[in-house]
Amino acid sequence: VCFVPGGLDCSISFVSHVLGKVCVHGRQKEILSVLVPRLTDLTKSDCIWQRICWRLVECVPDRWMEAVVLGFVQRAPGADVLSRLLGNLVVKNKKAQFVVTQKVLLLQYCHTTAVLQNLLGYLSLDSLRRALLIKVLQELLETWGSSSAVKHSPPEQQQYISKAILICLSHLKEPEIESCRQELLTSMMEGVKCHLDSNLPQIRRLGMIVAESISSKINTDGPVLKFQYEEDEEARELKSLLVQTPPFCVVPSLPDDNRNEKADAAPPLVLESNKKSHTTALVMSDEESDAELDSDDDLIPYDMSEDKELKIKAPVYIRDCIEVLTGSEDVDKWEATVKTLESLVRNNPAATREVSVELAKILLHLEEKTCIEGFVELRQRAQVAVLTTDPIPVAKYLTSQFYSLNYSLRQRMDILDVLVLAAQELSYPKSHRKTKHSGAQNPCIQLLPGSDSSKDWRRIVDERIKSKTRRFATGQSQAELASSPNEFSSVVGHFFFPLIQQFDRPLTTFDLLGEDHFVLGRLVHTLAILMYLAVNTVAVTAMGKALLEFVWALRFHTDSYVRQGLLSCISSMLLSVPTERLLQDMTEELLETQSWLGDVVEKDPDGDCRRLALQNLLLMENLKKKLKIVPS
C-alpha cells in the first residue's frame, strides 16, 4: 500500500473502510504486519503523516473499530509508537474508548504482558488520556477487590488484572497518587482481605504482591506493607512490572533479562574478591605459624580420652515418657524424650497398647517447650506410631476430637494428617513398610502439611489411573510383592466413618460448612486418600456409598479447593471399589454423578476442577469398556 502525499485534502475514509473490513474478517495479522512498521517509520518525525494516520483510524466505522484498535494495540512495538499511530482516538471515539478501557482489560484476559504495557503506556503518554488511566485503575481495583470476582474468576484472569494494576501503578505520577490516595488505600484493604481468604496459594500470593506494590506507592516515606511469600519466576516477573522500562527497548522482556544478568554478574565478582582476600589471609597465617618456635612443647597434656559429648539420658519405658511429658520441669529430659518417643513406641507395642489413648491425648496437646529442630515432625511421627500400634481406640479418640469444641484449626488438621499417614502405613504390606522406614522419606505425603499434599496425591491417583487403563492389556505386573494380611482392612471403618458423620453439625467454635471451609477442603482430601487406601478391604463398598452421598451433598460448594477434593473423592472411589460392586449396587448414583461431572467439565471456572472431572469421566468409560470385554 503506497500513499501519495501530494494534495492537501486527500480523503482517507476509503482506506479506513478497507482497513476496517479486512481487520474484521480476521486478516489483521497480514495487513497490519505490513502497515504498522511502515506507519511507524513514516510517523517518526513527520507531523503530517501522524495526522494522516490519526484520520485513518478515526474514520474506521464503529462496527469495525474494535478489530482495528485491537490489531494496532497488539502489533505496535511500544507505547510511544501506539501513541503516535492512534493519537487521541480513545478520547474522541466512544467505541475505541470502550474497547481500550473496558473490553481488553476487564472482559478479556488472553493478551500478553506486552500488550498491556502498550495499552497502559499509551494511556499515560498524553495529558488528555491520563484521566482515562486513573479511571481504568479505579475500575481494575474495584474488580480486584471484589470478593465474588476473587472466588469465581479463573486464576489466569486474576493474574492478568493484577499485572494491569501493577503497570498502571508504575505509570502514575506523584500528584495523581496524592489525589486518589484514600481510594487506593480502601480498595487495597478490601482486596487484600478477599485474596488472603482464598484457599489457592497462587491467589493469595497475587493479592500479597499487588498489596505490597500499592502500599509502597502510597506510603513512600512511611513503613510499607511487607508480606512473606515464595519468590519465584512469576513473582519476580510481576514485581518487575512496577518499574517502567525505557521506551527504546523494543521487546519488554529484554530489560528483565538484562537486569537478571547484571544481578548475576555482580555477586560472582563480590564472591571472587572475598575469596582472594581469604586466601591471602590464610597464606599469611601459615607462614607465621611456621616461623614461631615451638615453645608450647614443655607443657605436657594430660589424658583427655574421657572428654566426650555430654548426653542426656532419655527414659526407656513408655510410662516414664508419659511422666516426663506431662509433668517434668527438666527441659533437657523433655527434649530427649520427644526425640526417642517414636522408636520406643514402635519397639514396645504391648506396653503402648496399655496407654495408647493417654499417649495420643498427650501428643495431641503437646506444645513446643524448647526449640527443637523438627519438633512438628517428631510429634507427628510419634502420633502415627501410636495410631498404628493400637489403631481402633486411638482412631476413635482422634476422630471424636476432630469434632470437639476448643481445638485450634491447626490441631484439627494435624488429626487429619496423622490419620492419613497411619492409614498409609497400615495399608502397605509389612515388608514394604520396613524399607519405607529406613529411608524415612515419604514421597507421597509431605509430613509438614500444606495444601500441596493434595497435589501429590492427585499425581499418585493420576499415575494409578494410567496404570489402570493399561492393566487389562498387560495383565498382572505386580505379583512380586510379598503378601501379608491387610491390617488396614479391619480398622478402615473406624478411620473413615466417624469423620464423615458429623460434618453438617456446626459447633460454636468450628463450622465446617461455614467459615472453616479450609478445613473442609482438607477433610475432603483426607477422605479421598482414605478411600484410595481402602482398596481390597471389606468395607470398601459401604465406604464408597457413604462417600458418594457425601460428595453429592457438597457438590455445589463455592470453594474451588473443596470441589477439587470432591472430584478426587470420586476418582478414589472409582479406583478402589471393585467394578462389579460399583455397577450393581450404585448404578443410579453413578449415572447422576456422570451427568454432574459433564456439567463440571463444561461450566466450572477452575481449570483443575475441569481436568479432574474429565479424568473421572474417562475412568467411568474405562469401567464400562472393561465390563464389555470380560466375557460373561
Partner: protein, 328 residues
C-alpha cells in the same frame, strides 16, 4: 603415657548458691592472707581465706540479687562488686570493715560483667553496659565521672554487649575497649573519640566471654556454640580471625588467660574446665569435677609461681581450686 587429669587441690563449700564470679587477691606479703572473693546468686560476696579454706567474711550489699562480677581495686581492701540490683558497689574492707563506701546505679538489667583498668595512680576506668540496649558506658573511679558512652551506629544491630575488656598497651598509652556483642561480633573501641576502630564477626551465636593478651595482640572469645575463636590485632588496629578451635560440647561461660600468658582456662556448660596452651591453643587438660555448668574461672596472682592456683565456680554451689602447670 598421658597422665589422668589431676583432682582439685581443694574444694570450697559453703556458698549455698550458684557461684557466678571469682577473684583472687594473693599478691600481698606475709602476714597478708591469700584471699579469694566469690560472688553468688543469692547476693552474697564471700571472702575466703585460702590458708584455712574457710569464709572470713560475708558481704551483703546487693539486696539478695545475684552478684555477677567481683574485682579488687588496687589492694585487697578495696573491692568492686556488680549485681543484678543494677548497682556497682565499692567496698572498704580494711581493718575488718564491711561497708559500702560508694555505689553507681547503672540502670542496666543485663548480665554483662564490667571491666576495670588502672590508668594512673589512684585513677581507674570502669566499663559497663549502660541503660540503653547497645551502649557501653565508661566511668572514671573514684570520681564517677563519665568518660564516654560508646554507641554503635544505627542499624549495626549488634545487640547487647555481653562481655567487656579494657586494656592499654602499656602504662600511659591510650586505653582501648574490646566488647563482645549478642550478634557474635567483637568490636574494638577507641575511648577518646568514642568510635569503632574495628569489628569482627567471630561467632554465629552471642559472644559469652573474651580475654585479650595485649603483649601478643591476640585475643580469644567463647560463645554458646561449639567454637572458640582466636583473633589478632594487627598494626592498623584491625581485628582478624587467627584460628578457631572446635569443642566437643557447646557453650562456654568464661575464658581467662593466666597472667604469665602460658595457658588459658575455659569454663564450659558441659560441667568441664578445659586448659589450653596459649601459644598455639594446644589442648592440655580437661578437668572434670563439677556436676553442673561452670560459670567462672580465675587464675591467682601469687608472686611465687609454684603456688599459683586456678579456681572455678559452678552452679552446683562449689568452688574447685586446682594447682596445674605450676612448674613453668
Amino acid at each position: 603415657m598421658a597422665l589422668p587429669p589431676p583432682d582439685p587441690q581443694f574444694v570450697l563449700r559453703g556458698t549455698s548458691a550458684a557461684v557466678h564470679t571469682l577473684h583472687f587477691s594473693c599478691g600481698g606479703q606475709e602476714p597478708d592472707v591469700p584471699t579469694l572473693f566469690s560472688g553468688s546468686e543469692n547476693g552474697f560476696i564471700h571472702v575466703w581465706n585460702l590458708k584455712t579454706h574457710r569464709v572470713n567474711t560475708e558481704l551483703d550489699g546487693h539486696g539478695r540479687k545475684s552478684v555477677y562480677c567481683v574485682e579488687t581495686i588496687g589492694s585487697k581492701n578495696r573491692l568492686l562488686s556488680q549485681g543484678r540490683d543494677q548497682r556497682i558497689c565499692l567496698w572498704d574492707l580494711a581493718e575488718g570493715r564491711t561497708s559500702v563506701t560508694d555505689s553507681v546505679f547503672t540502670e542496666n538489667v543485663g548480665f554483662c560483667r564490667c571491666s576495670l583498668l588502672k590508668v594512673a595512680q589512684g585513677r581507674w576506668l570502669v566499663a559497663m553496659a549502660a541503660k540503653a540496649l547497645e551502649e557501653v558506658q565508661v566511668l572514671e573511679l573514684p570520681s564517677k565521672t563519665s568518660v564516654c558512652t560508646l554507641k554503635p551506629e544505627v542499624g549495626a544491630k549488634l545487640g547487647m554487649p555481653m562481655c567487656l575488656k579494657l586494656w592499654q598497651l602499656n602504662c600511659g598509652s591510650q586505653p582501648l575497649l574490646l566488647a563482645g556483642y549478642e550478634d557474635g561480633s567483637v568490636v574494638l573501641w577507641n575511648l577518646s573519640m568514642g568510635k569503632v576502630l574495628s569489628q569482627l564477626v567471630c561467632h554465629q551465636e552471642p559472644v559469652m566471654s573474651l580475654d585479650f593478651d595485649s603483649e601478643k595482640a591476640k585475643g580469644i572469645s567463647g560463645s554458646s556454640e561449639k567454637v572458640l575463636s582466636i583473633w589478632s590485632l594487627n598494626e592498623q588496629q584491625n581485628l582478624q580471625v587467627y584460628k578457631t578451635h572446635k569443642l566437643v560440647n557447646a557453650g562456654i561461660s568464661d575464658i581467662t588467660i593466666r597472667p604469665d600468658k602460658k595457658i588459658l582456662a575455659t569454663a564450659g556448660w558441659d560441667h568441664r574446665i578445659r586448659i589450653f596452651g596459649w601459644k598455639k591453643l594446644k589442648p592440655l587438660a580437661v578437668l572434670n569435677y563439677h556436676t553442673a555448668t561452670v560459670h567462672c574461672v580465675s587464675f591467682s596472682d601469687h608472686k611465687n609461681p609454684s603456688e599459683r592456683l586456678l579456681a572455678a565456680g559452678s552452679k552446683d554451689h562449689r568452688i574447685s581450686i586446682w594447682s596445674i602447670y605450676t612448674q613453668t
